[in-house]
């Protein structure tokens, strides 16, 4: 089964296998290129030798023999190199958490915990709104109280303008005097009425 090396890919931004394939193809291309260059040089040299019977076909045959051997060794060595690189270089050890996943280390919460947390945040938000509402209501009442108190004080002040509850100075005494003597007046009135009958 293919191990897609997803976590490594998340870190490197490419799959390690692609990287190895890229290296393999590049190395192999160089082996071929250098072999072509070698064959060209030998061909050129051989053809410049006086009386040389070495043909291009023979040289090509030699090249293919050497290249076949080199490719076989190349592939074997490359498999080993690939294993080492995939295990030791292009590898995220199992105990490693990538920086972008750090939160999973601290908050391994499951689905339920998360929903509970979301609900609690929502309830807190509603409570906060309620408290804000209460605050506005209280401030509104304080505002109303201020106006009411001002009006009541104004009324009281108006009363004060009339003097104290017994009216302007002396009115109280006069009233008391009147009250006191109104009784006398009433009895005199009654006497007079009596006598006139």
């Amino acid at each position: 089964s293919i191990n897609p090396l997803l976590y490594e890919t998340q870190f490197f931004g490419f799959t390690p296998q692609t990287c190895m394939l890229r290296i393999y193809i590049a190395f192999q291309d160089y082996l071929f290129e250098v072999m072509v260059a070698v064959e060209k040089v030998i061909l050129k040299k051989a053809s410049s030798l006086p009386g040389s019977t070495l043909s291009a076909v023979q040289i090509r045959g030699s090249t293919e023999t050497f290249l076949r051997f080199m490719r076989e060794r190349f592939n074997r060595l490359f498999v080993k190199m690939e294993q080492v690189l995939l295990q030791l270089v292009l590898n995220i050890p199992p105990n490693i958490l990538l920086p972008e996943d750090r939160s999973h280390e601290k908050y391994p919460q499951g689905r339920e915990d998360f929903h509970l947390l979301q609900q609690e945040v929502e309830q807190l938000r509603l409570r906060y709104k309620a408290e804000l509402g209460a605050k506005h209501a209280l401030l509104a009442e304080l505002e109303v109280q201020k106006v009411t108190q001002a009006r009541l004080k104004k009324t009281l002040h108006w009363f004060d303008g009339l003097g104290d509850a017994h009216g302007p100075l002396g009115l109280g005494e006069m009233m008391a005097f009147l009250i006191q003597h109104s009784g006398r007046l009433r009895s005199i009135t009654q006497d007079v009425t009596q006598k006139s009958k």
Partner: protein
């Protein structure tokens, strides 16, 4: 810990060494036997050139790949991450394959932060509201007192207005 960049270079060098020792001069001369018999020195020269060119090309390719993938910096940062996690042995979290599950943990710190700031705001507001409520109660008391005072005055005056009628 051998730095991964050094490991990469070492592994490639080992690969090259083994490739070169596999493709030895003897093997090369044996394959190009006819030419070797005609020109042994030239054969040696060509072989040496072949090996040098192959090694140079492969090393240059590795440098190119390092540059393309910014591999040195990336591998060095990986070394650092590995070093920091030295004390943790148990296997670390890995993506579950269910994105909504995985993203949840990413969001938790923000919800926790939201939760604590809302808690603080609610407490502050509650404290403030307690004070405001006391002020409102005090205010209501004062309004009541003022009303009572006015009531008393009113009655006193009403009493007073009775007197002339009585008279």
């Amino acid at each position: 810990h051998i730095p991964k960049v050094k490991l990469l270079d070492t592994v490639v060098d080992t690969f090259l060494q083994k490739l070169v020792s596999a493709g030895s001069y003897e093997r090369f001369a044996k394959c190009y036997k006819r030419f070797y018999k005609l020109q042994p020195e030239m054969t040696r020269l060509i072989y040496d050139q072949f090996i040098t060119q192959l090694q140079t090309s492969i090393r240059e390719e590795v440098s190119t790949i390092k540059e393309e993938g910014n591999l040195e910096a990336v591998l060095n940062s990986l070394d650092k991450i590995v070093e920091e996690a030295e004390d943790r042995k148990e296997p670390a979290w890995r993506p579950s394959g269910i994105p909504e599950d995985d993203v949840r943990s990413t969001l938790i710190p923000y919800f926790l932060q939201q939760q604590s700031s809302l808690k603080r705001l609610v407490q502050e507001q509650e404290r403030e509201n307690v004070k405001l409520a006391e002020m409102v109660l005090e205010g209501r008391k004062q309004v009541l007192e003022l009303q009572q005072q006015i009531q008393a005055r009113k009655q006193a005056w009403q009493m007073l207005t009775q007197v002339p009628k009585t008279l």
